[in-house]
């Protein structure tokens, strides 16, 4: 049973560039959440996708956008990169239940370095 997978594992970009990160959820999961983890801190929620729509968004600017595909995989796009966007980007998948907290399982992350 494949867990959550993410690509690429590492990425180096320069300021002002755009980046796309990819995530495939755990088998049987239909919901994907994205988190940003700065060095030495806990993950911060960016947004969550379910049924190909953004369901909730954290405190991140519009430069951060996403997409979910019919096969439940997801992309995170970041435009106009800033040095402060350097972080580990984590994807978490879950199975949406009605009204209860959902256990989210994380992928290995993509380490983004902005120079």
């Amino acid at each position: 049973d494949a867990g959550v997978t993410q690509s690429p594992t590492h990425l180096i970009k320069t300021r002002g560039q755009q980046v796309t990160l990819r995530c495939s959820p755990k088998s049987g999961h239909d919901t994907v959440s994205w988190y940003q983890q700065a060095l030495g801190q806990g993950p911060q929620f960016i947004f969550q996708y379910y049924e190909e729509e953004e369901r909730q968004r954290g405190n991140f600017p519009d430069r951060f956008s996403g997409h979910q595909f019919p096969n439940y995989s997801s992309e995170l796009n970041v435009n106009a990169l800033l040095l402060g966007d350097s972080a580990l980007y984590l994807c978490a998948s879950s199975f949406r239940t009605s009204g209860l907290g959902e256990t989210q399982y994380f992928g290995p992350g993509t380490r983004l370095l902005v120079l």
């Binding site: 806990g42 969550q48 009204g99 907290g101 959902e102 256990t103 989210q104 994380f106 290995p108």
Partner: protein, 112 residues
Amino acid sequence: GESVGLHLPTLSVQEGDNSIINCAYSNSASDYFIWYKQESGKGPQFIIDIRSNMDKRQGQRVTVLLNKTVKHLSLQIAATQPGDSAVYFCAENMTGFQKLVFGTGTRLLVSP
């Protein structure tokens, strides 16, 4: 691998000891809590969860205790092993809201 946390609270124990990691959560309306383990260079790994209608839940070598009165969560690891060395995060969630809110993390160091 890369360091997950450079200036985190650290708990140092000897192999075979029991470890207790504490967490204060922020939202009294949170009703679902999870403990994650994060090793250097990896994503958080689910350990155990608990809902607000429970005070205690046990897994294999781990126990989570929830005190809603003081908004406190703890993770107990029995017979700690060197492989338990990692950063441990608690996370909280409120029904109807999709995001997990993570605590600051605790680094557990287990000496042989």
